[in-house]
């Protein structure tokens, strides 16, 4: 068991940090305030290979491991959780299922543009009536000759409107329950596929979260991902990987909050001393740091298991459960340690706190994670 980062990882971390510091951090406040998708940043990320980290070189990716990928999301999220989730959703929820379940033809067609960041990816499972109860899918896909016809809608889809490739779950056989759900690759611009309402959110405001509408949307039958009826399994497996990404995002948010708080408490003086002098400050920060470090180990372990093809669903659930709770706790404490200033937009901690909340909800609520963990224990 080696807890040290490899030379490669150290160098990646250095590069990730430099990039995040110089290119992403300066825009974070504006991205949040204007609720603007950071188009230019995504282009730069693409240029430097951030959008295909765990994709094999044969498909235009960097051929990296999942720890390298998780670290990338972590470092981005430290300074801007919005940018972190853009990369996470694209990589784990769109590129990964194509890599894992796609035919050779599908992989050759879709992975290179995704890996190079020429196209952005997204994933559509959630519907108005299917959140935690994900199997209650109502979007249908009917085979008609050489095409499937999709009808229905999805909500709360990350990267919607900016993505070019969407992995969409739909029912191909209503009589079969979860075994009647199939996965499809749908390209933006397909007639009958439109982007609906954009959500105004509490946090990760620059992330584009919208409704997807399918009305008589015809896609080639070659766009079926995996086999008919296997879609639910594909979705669940995809979310396992996505949870590593979100846990990494939560980890980054927590670490970012600690970093800015440490700077602040060394500067801010009350009662003639810097806040760092007081034991309360020290103890709070100690707790924040300990929990964040624990999150880190859980995230990296889940990523490591995935790399080694060891079943990691349970580890990913634990990582997400713990890291998201930690992010919420750490950012709340960070605001508190900043006092009144922490409540204003002049300091980044209030944004970090607003950003943290979603990590306990999307890609499987914390309750769902507990279901996964309990099921693993009690089987």
């Amino acid at each position: 068991m080696n807890f040290k980062l490899s030379q490669e990882h150290i160098m990646l971390q250095k590069m990730y940090r430099e990039f995040a510091e110089n290119e992403v951090k300066p825009l974070a406040e504006e991205v949040d305030e204007k609720e603007e998708f950071p188009v230019e940043t995504v282009k730069k990320l693409a240029k430097y290979g951030w959008l295909g980290i765990p994709i094999p070189k044969a498909y235009g990716g960097a051929g990296g491991d999942n720890i390298a990928y998780a670290m990338a999301v972590e470092e981005l999220s430290k300074v801007c959780a919005t940018t972190g989730v853009i990369v996470s959703a694209h990589t784990s929820l769109c590129a990964a299922p194509i890599l894992e379940f796609g035919t050779q033809k599908q992989k050759e067609k879709y992975l290179p543009p995704l890996a190079k960041g020429e196209k952005l990816g997204a994933f559509g499972l959630t519907e108005a009536n299917a959140g935690t109860d994900a199997s209650a899918q109502q979007t249908v896909a009917v085979l008609d000759g050489d095409e499937y016809v999709l009808d229905g809608s999805k909500i709360f889809i990350t990267n919607a409107g900016y993505a070019d490739i969407y992995i969409i779950m739909a029912m191909t056989d209503k009589t079969q329950g979860t075994r009647g759900i199939s996965a499809f690759i749908v390209e933006a611009g397909t007639p009958g596929f439109t982007i609906g309402k954009k959500e105004a959110k509490m946090g990760i405001k620059g992330s584009s979260t919208c409704e997807l509408i399918f009305e008589n949307c015809r896609i080639p039958k070659e766009n079926l991902l995996g086999k008919e009826g296997k879609g639910f399994g594909i979705a669940m497996k995809t979310l396992d990987g996505g949870r590593i990404g979100i846990a990494a995002q939560a980890l980054g948010i927590a670490q970012g909050a600690i970093d800015v708080t440490v700077s602040y408490v060394k500067e801010r003086k009350q009662f003639g001393k810097t806040l760092s002098y007081f034991q309360n400050t020290q103890f709070q920060l100690a707790e924040m740091a300990a929990k964040t470090e624990a999150s880190r180990l859980l995230v990296y372990k889940a990523a490591d298991f995935k790399d080694k093809n060891i079943p990691y669903s349970n580890e990913a659930a634990i990582a997400k459960l713990f890291a998201s709770a930690t992010a919420m706790e750490v950012t709340t404490k960070a605001v508190q340690l900043h006092g009144g200033y922490g409540y204003t937009r002049e300091y980044p901690v209030e944004r970090m706190m607003r950003d943290a909340k979603i990590t306990e909800i999307y890609e499987g609520t914390s309750e769902v994670q507990k279901m996964v963990i309990a099921a693993n224990l009690l089987k």
Binding site: Q7, E8, M11, L12, M15, E18, F19, K47, Y48, G49, W50, G52, I53, K57, G61, A62, G63, G64, A68, A72
Partner: protein
């Protein structure tokens, strides 16, 4: 086109602090970086690689840990990396360093040699021009812009009060300024390639042909007689008052000192 870029690993001197109690330098925890002027030179070389398919070799003379700088250069896109290291080189001043580097470069093919104008630790700006002299090459220093017209290099050579646009043929040596460009980041695949596909060659004294008496501490014409930190000035008075009061204090003091 073949380009050799000389780089140096340096401590990030902007991060160095003086220990307030002892007055000595705190060197621990100071990150090592590729010298900024050199990094811009490397970026210029990589741009020539992008445009003309040039082959880029990075060379550094230093201790074993300088390998990290070479690795970074490979991750940015350099094709070949050479670490020139040997105990015999220790204590070299710029003459000895330039002799050593020139000897190594003689083993390579090149149309263009790039060195950063100066290193942020030594701050001499001497090694580049001295290498050019040892290799008998035309030199252009303080280069802020570089273009290649197919056969010659067109360079913007800056001075304090303007610049010259100059043309120089191959082979030549230039020294570059960090103002020249924004060096690219390492890419993710670049980093993996640097560790998985590329090698760092290590050259010792035996791998180069050079006059031994020119090398290291012994061969350096300049010697350090002593080094010291500048003593802290005795502090003046500090006032923590509101801005109106502060303004009065300043003006009164300036009048007292006949400054106004």
């Amino acid at each position: 086109m073949k380009i050799v870029v000389c780089i140096k690993q340096v401590p990030d001197t902007t991060e160095v602090r003086l220990d307030p109690k002892t007055g000595t330098l705190i060197r621990e925890g100071v990150p090592s970086i590729i010298n900024p002027d050199d990094k811009s030179g490397l970026e210029a070389a990589l741009q020539l690689k992008d445009e003309f398919g040039a082959h880029v070799t990075v060379l550094t003379m230093g201790p074993q840990q300088a390998e990290a700088a070479l690795r970074e250069a490979l991750a940015m896109g350099a094709d070949r990396a050479i670490l020139l290291t040997d105990r015999a080189f220790a204590g070299s001043d710029t003459w000895a360093t330039s002799c050593t580097l020139a000897a190594a470069i003689k083993n390579l093919e090149y149309d263009l040699i790039i060195a950063g104008r100066q290193a942020i630790d030594g701050d001499t700006a001497q090694v580049g021009p001295q290498i050019a002299e040892h290799l008998n090459l035309p030199q252009v220093s303080y280069v802020e812009d570089l273009k290649y017209d197919g056969s010659s290099f067109i360079l913007k050579r800056v001075f304090e009060d303007g610049y010259h646009l100059v043309k120089v043929g191959k082979p030549c040596l230039i020294t570059t300024l960090k103002e020249m460009n924004e060096p690219r980041y390492m890419s993710v695949m670049g980093i993996f390639d640097a560790y998985r596909e590329k090698q760092i060659e290590v050259w010792n004294l035996k791998d180069i042909t050079v006059e031994r008496s020119y090398l290291g501490l012994e061969g350096s014409p300049t010697k350090v007689k002593k080094s010291f930190t500048k003593g802290a000035k005795t502090a003046g008075k500090v006032f923590e008052v509101d801005h109106k009061e502060a303004a009065k204090i300043i003006v009164d003091k300036l009048k007292e000192k006949y400054i106004i």
